[in-house]
């Protein structure tokens, strides 16, 4: 190992965040748009007795999109910075991308609440109406409403963002490792 290897590592490690920020932000915007669209659609519908309704379909799409962000970030990195990438470095990219997705998604959601102050209230009414249509007992309904209200506060949103980062991070690490397998050249071990 010589000095050029260390310099390359320093430059390369500083570039991880470029790919993570770019791809993570892009995927966060796409996910937020899909989720908001599904939310507005649910608001416009009658209570169906299904708690999630069209949000469930969007949830599946958002899940798939968000999980592939790690792979996309590695692809971006190998195209823009260097094709040589280890699995460990790929895992870091995946984790960083997941963190960006969670942060940007949370920020976009909070920003939308400012743009459309009625959105949160309307979604709450839709969720409560669906719960009542499902026949949820009053006690359980009150408990759920309290939980929903708490989750929509800034503190609750941040808490949920942190705890959801774990699994999101795992999925993006796995897909990032897949990206390394597909797109990167690994250094042959001695």
């Amino acid at each position: 190992m010589n000095d050029s290897d260390f310099r390359n590592d320093d430059a390369a490690s500083g570039s991880y965040w470029n790919s993570a920020l770019l791809i993570g932000s892009l995927f966060a915007v796409i996910s937020a748009v899909i989720s908001l669209a599904a939310g507005y659609y649910q608001i416009s519908q009658e209570a169906s007795g299904s708690l999630f309704g069209p949000v469930a379909i969007s949830g599946t799409v958002v899940c798939l999109i968000s999980a592939l962000a790690g792979l996309a970030a590695v692809r971006n990195y190998t195209r823009e910075v260097t094709r040589t990438l280890s699995f460990g470095q790929g895992a870091v990219i995946g984790l960083a991308t997941a963190a960006v997705i969670v942060v940007v998604s949370t920020a976009l959601t909070q920003l939308w609440y400012l743009i459309d102050p009625n959105y949160l209230e309307n979604i709450m009414e839709s969720v409560i109406a669906n719960m009542e249509a499902m026949g949820v007992p009053d006690e359980a309904l009150e408990g759920q409403i309290d939980a929903i209200m708490e989750s929509q506060t800034l503190a609750g949103t941040l808490k949920n963002a942190v705890i959801s980062l774990g699994v999101m991070g795992l999925l993006n690490v796995l897909t990032a490792l897949l990206g390394v397998r597909l797109f990167a050249e690994r250094e042959e071990t001695l």
């Binding site: 469930a56 379909i57 408990g143 980062l165 774990g166 897909t175 050249e185």
Partner: protein, 187 residues
């Protein structure tokens, strides 16, 4: 995917697991899988010792509190609709049946990895299989949404299971190396 690619290893070449990478992987997969089983695992509404009840619960909708922290852990990756989720101990699992299968497949493949590493290490057919399974997932979801067919809890479970296993096997190279070679510190 152009450029230089690592070739498949020579036939019959032994492959070893990298312990300091493999152990955290298995722990992480096990913890994630356990969490995916939902609050019924540690706070069941019905006794888990009743095996028949547990088996019956795998096809019945259980109680759920969507904003319980256990469900919120998976909220970013799974919608956890009650009618599309198994239940354990009378409580809905934290993820839907497809994701339950996915995390189960991941864990199974992770536990099996030391035994099959030599068979799957850098093998192209593993990637091809992953691609096919991913396409089948998309088709299954699309067909169900379009009303062409109705999948079930168990069909979704097994589709997720095979996808999770294929994904883990596809990245086995990150947790193993050919026997007789040292692990690069840069990796």
């Amino acid at each position: 995917m152009g450029g230089k690619r690592q070739d498949e290893p020579a036939r019959g070449m032994a492959v070893r697991i990298i312990p300091r990478r493999y152990a955290p992987l298995v722990v992480l997969l096990a913890v994630t899988w356990a969490l995916s089983l939902g609050p019924g695992l540690y706070d069941p509404a019905e006794p888990l010792t009743d095996v028949a009840g547990v088996w019956r619960g795998l096809t019945e909708v259980g109680d759920s509190e969507p904003y319980h922290w256990n469900y919120m852990v998976f909220s970013a990756v799974c919608h956890s609709r009650p009618e599309r989720s198994f239940s354990l101990g009378g409580v809905q699992m934290a993820v839907n049946s497809r994701c339950t299968g996915f995390f189960s497949g991941l864990l199974f493949a992770g536990l099996l990895l030391p035994a099959v590493a030599c068979m799957i290490y850098r093998k192209k057919w593993v990637l091809s299989t992953l691609g096919v399974l991913l396409a089948l997932q998309v088709l299954d979801v699309a067909g169900n949404v379009a009303g062409l067919w109705s999948n079930t809890l168990w069909t979704r479970f097994w589709m997720g299971w095979f996808l999770g296993a294929a994904l883990l096997f596809s990245i086995a190279e990150g947790f193993a190396r050919p026997a007789g070679r040292s692990h690069s510190s840069a990796a």
